[in-house]
Symmetry: C2
Subunit: 369 residues, 2 copies
């Protein structure tokens, strides 16, 4: 577990940087020792956390207690045209309503956003889906709320991974990969119980890895990125290509109204083009799982995101088959495939507060038993 | 850092399993806290560690002090035909010579082997290069040595990764990937200062990931595994194919004597086939680096192994170019490429003892300054 202090504590120039705090000098034995206990545990009276997940179309809020129960749960639309400042002020207003009701019992706020975020300074460096660049989200939000509550920032899929670890399909598992297939593609991983972040907090941002340089052009400008296949957008784009070149004229009239849901329905009715589209997707997902299996050696894959959950039972067998065809089989241990089971993505954002304070899932679930 | 107890302490059926030890129950605050300080630091008088790296052709030994200096350094041939028991007894004899001289000052022994190892029970489950299956290496070695010294077991490339972190090109770096290109292909990674192990201790075993299902047949039976390109064996096999179909008859007579060194020499003289062979290798390595960059987000790649070090300056530019062509460029930060700088692979095995006792590299290097 990498220690992460709430942003307001580290944005100031202080001598103790977050990573360096994860140890102490043992004077008796004259050695540096690694520890994760430099942050005091949350006092018992502070038993609520707030999670806020900012997406391209909606913002999800959740207030959860220390048994993992969702006490408050809300969504508001993301008014992208009003700009980041106004959006964050609106988020502040919603949080103030919760502060009014739960006050001193709120131990922290977890904020999840897409894109490239600097968790140490609280800045969203680049979030293409929101059209945000260098937005000091934590400072703005801090000025908009009426109480001094620690605020933590993370990438949305990293937060969702923590959510699965504390409250979802990764609750009893220390090594898993979360794959979120929705409009786009995102991923996150726990390794030996630690959130895998990487040096720039961009670990598992694999959607724009180009795996087929003769593949379709991606929105990022590259060719054959994973997201051109493993996303709702990618699926619909490929469907338009295949249906438009079909001899069935009926299709050419409805190209603009094709959705991922429609393709799934067609596949259930054994439409050959829809079946081919999903077959292509499962091959690609199988390769991605093979890649992640050999690099991270996880115990489990958790498939989430709207499209991911919808295709889970449909594609699971094909995905596993493709994955095993690409890796060395050492023994009969099978990797597990689970469907995401989080009620709301905001639970992931809320889970950050527990995680970055060193409270393990079993501590939370002990309280709930 | 995943806590790993020396094998003799955990092979017995005890209630406290290694992973569960990495925490304690904070009764005052009624929470489980994560910590890595349950193992006592090494007493100062015990300031030597022994590393043993068992390879397919040779066994490397090193005795190092707590400043990272190699005090003793030795290699003996691996007598594979005598079987694992005899080999381990021979290793025990070599260690006993060191025990005789350095006695109580030896704090631990790190044992590195290729293949699939169970670090908890001290068993090598499957090491194809050694032809070992289910060999209880730690128990046999323990019976062969004359003092009670803790023994740690790890995969060879994981140990080498630790070696780079404590004594080599990863000394000042918390997030890096080590890539070892020799006869075969191996890798390891540190993420936020932790050795990435995975649930079966097989993380980063990517040599047999099939990335091209129309590629050459691999020794494992699959097609287009990474090792069929990124290894001495793979390079020589491909060279034989290309030179045998060349119109230059001179080549057909020396196909059996082609070595990786010869190919490198030919490439320096601008032989087009040799240049094409290395170009192919750099494309493949560039893709592997792109894959690892997006999944692990490291600060640095460290290229090791005999062939890896030999081609480092030759291919570096092409590898970087290929890598960047396959990933989303967020800013101008460049990933670093370093050449391995370990004197002997046995230093990696020795580094295990420091690592699994919670002593950080800066503690070791503080002593040496």
């Amino acid at each position: 577990m990498t220690l992460q202090l709430p942003v307001e504590e580290i944005a100031r120039p202080i001598s103790c940087k977050a990573k360096e705090c994860a140890g102490f000098f043992d004077h008796e034995n004259d050695h540096w020792m690694k520890t994760l206990t430099t942050v005091k545990p949350l006092p018992q009276r502070k038993n609520y956390t707030i999670g806020v997940d900012i997406g391209g179309t909606k913002i999800a809020f959740a207030l959860i207690d220390d048994t993992g129960s969702v006490i408050e749960n809300k969504r508001i639309p993301t008014q992208l045209t009003s700009g980041p400042e106004m959006i964050l002020v609106e988020i502040g207003k919603q949080i103030n309503l919760l502060i009014k009701e739960y006050g001193v019992n709120i131990s922290g706020i977890g904020l999840a956003t897409p894109g490239y975020v600097d968790t140490r300074t609280g800045i969203v460096k680049n979030a293409v889906n929101l059209n945000w660049k260098d937005v000091n989200v934590v400072a703005i939000l801090k000025n908009s709320i009426t109480a001094s509550i620690p605020i933590y920032l993370q990438r949305d899929t990293a937060a969702e991974t923590l959510g699965e670890h504390y409250f979802g399909a990764g609750k009893d598992c220390q090594d898993f990969v979360f794959l979120g297939i929705g409009t786009g593609f995102g991923a996150g991983a726990m390794t030996s119980g630690h959130l895998l972040t990487g040096v720039n907090n961009m670990a598992l941002e694999i959607g724009h890895l180009s795996v087929d340089q003769h593949g379709p052009v991606c929105a990022c400008g590259n060719m054959g990125c994973i997201e051109t296949v493993l996303s709702g957008k990618g699926l619909v784009n490929r469907a338009r290509d295949l249906y438009s070149s079909s001899s069935n004229l009926e299709y050419s009239q409805m190209l603009d109204s094709i959705t991922a849901e429609w393709i799934l329905e067609r596949a259930k009715e054994h439409d050959p083009i829809a079946e081919e589209l999903l077959q292509h997707m499962s091959k690609s997902l199988g390769f991605v799982c093979a890649m992640l299996k050999t690099i991270l050696d996880p115990e489990r894959f958790i498939i989430g995101g709207g499209l991911g959950k919808a295709i889970f039972h449909f594609l699971r067998f094909e995905v596993e088959k493709e994955m095993y065809s690409r890796v060395l089989k050492l023994d009969n241990r099978k990797i597990q495939f689970f469907q995401s089971s989080l009620k709301t993505s905001a639970m992931g954002a809320a889970a950050m507060v527990w995680y970055f304070n060193g409270l393990l899932p079993k501590s939370i679930h002990k309280n709930s038993s």
